[in-house]
């Protein structure tokens, strides 16, 4: 099986590669369109700011490649947000795979933004959460989130309920960092590789 991790100007991809190594899964880290198109699985990870990463994807044409892929694609963190329609982070038009807008967490006196740390996810509706314990804790770091919508396949609660995971056709996404979310996070990556 050929798995590609998409190379672009987002950070923290190294820990995704190490997670793949721990699982014993091979991967290719590339931005080459032909390599991406010929992969069995595509992982679109990363940490970053929406407009900077989206501008880069447009510049290199990946904004057209990713939505047109037919094999299973898994976006995490900023990867997930870029797969949505729009992000309030610097008012960025994203790739529109998921017809939902990413919004900033409303500020409250009690709840800090960013949402940083371990939080539990629930209402599982995805093959990716198979054999993941109910109400499993995942590691989140983000200030923007997609509201619960028709594509939500796992929910998390911070200030308001939001989409912890999205799914539509061959596109899968998680807001949290599977690669550093302990054994539960690792299970989700393994499940994606098994689809």
């Amino acid at each position: 099986m050929k798995t590609v991790i998409v190379k672009y100007n987002a950070g923290n991809v190294q820990s995704v590669m190490y997670a793949m190594d721990r699982i014993g899964a091979s991967y290719l880290y590339t931005d080459d369109e032909a390599e991406i198109r010929s992969a069995d699985k595509v992982i679109f990870p990363g940490v970053g700011e929406a407009s900077t990463t989206m501008n880069y994807l447009r510049k290199v044409g990946l904004d057209k490649v990713i939505p047109s892929l037919k094999q299973p694609v898994f976006g995490t963190c900023i990867g997930m947000q870029l797969m949505c329609r729009f992000s309030e982070e610097n008012n960025t038009t994203c790739m529109g795979i998921f017809d939902v807008d990413v919004k900033r967490f409303p500020a409250t006196p009690e709840m800090k933004v960013p949402h940083m740390g371990w939080n539990n996810i629930f209402d599982y509706k995805s093959a990716l959460t198979a054999e993941v314990a109910d109400s499993a804790y995942m590691y989140f770091v983000h200030s923007y989130a997609a509201p619960v919508c028709e594509y939500t396949v796992a929910t998390c609660d911070y200030v308001l309920p939001f989409s912890a995971m999205l799914q539509k056709d061959n596109f899968y996404a998680a807001q949290f960092h599977c690669e550093i979310s302990g054994d539960s996070g690792q299970k989700i990556i393994e499940n994606f590789l098994k689809i």
Partner: protein, 257 residues
Amino acid sequence: MLTKRIIPCLDVKDGRTVKGVNFVNLRDAGDAVELGALYAEQGADELVYLDITATIDGRSTFIDLVRRVAQTINIPFTVGGGISSIADVSALLHAGADKVSINSAAVRNPDLINELSLEFGSQCIVVAIDTRYIETEDGNEHIVHTHGGRKPTEIRSIPWAKEVEDRGAGEILLTSMDTDGTKNGFALELTATISGNANIPVIASGGAGNMDHFYDVFTTGKADAGLAASIFHFREIGIPDLKEYLNGKNLPMRMTK
């Protein structure tokens, strides 16, 4: 529900854990990677590795250690100690660290906080504040210290905490030098003031001696995370017991077993 975090801190010199560690079940009690993996297995929510090596050679040893930690554990970890440039941070993040902690360099050059958060994102920039309550010309004040807490600056800790947030820090690691090593509990009032003012998470450090000290710092102290070293290394408190205890007192904890 977002949980409170329990964070063991490992001081590392030449790739080895230096603060006394006494784990009979480890093949190599001084191996910083193996100890981190054990803490992760026991339910630690994050780890902090502080490099206390002063030499250039030690620096590359530390980067190698960071790489091995990242390859081994599947929870987030922060690295700190002697970081003073974008190049330092880039090397550590590239090796697989999730966050970096800066201290003296931020005091010397506060613009570094802005530069690092723009370059790498706020989420991975932790500013460590070592503070001590000392006499000043204006009466007693909480004053920022550098050089492992030995050297006072002219900076007041409470406004400094706000400033580092405004400059783009993603998290504050607050160590009270007054309580550090005493085992009499965290600096609750100061932690509550700084955490109450902040819209970013605050990790409290210094003074943990028993499980109630953690309860107090998460409630009265309003901390988002509690950090300790020797009480975990000497097995005075087990992480599973601590999390069980706090969970039993209705604090949100990530229970892994």
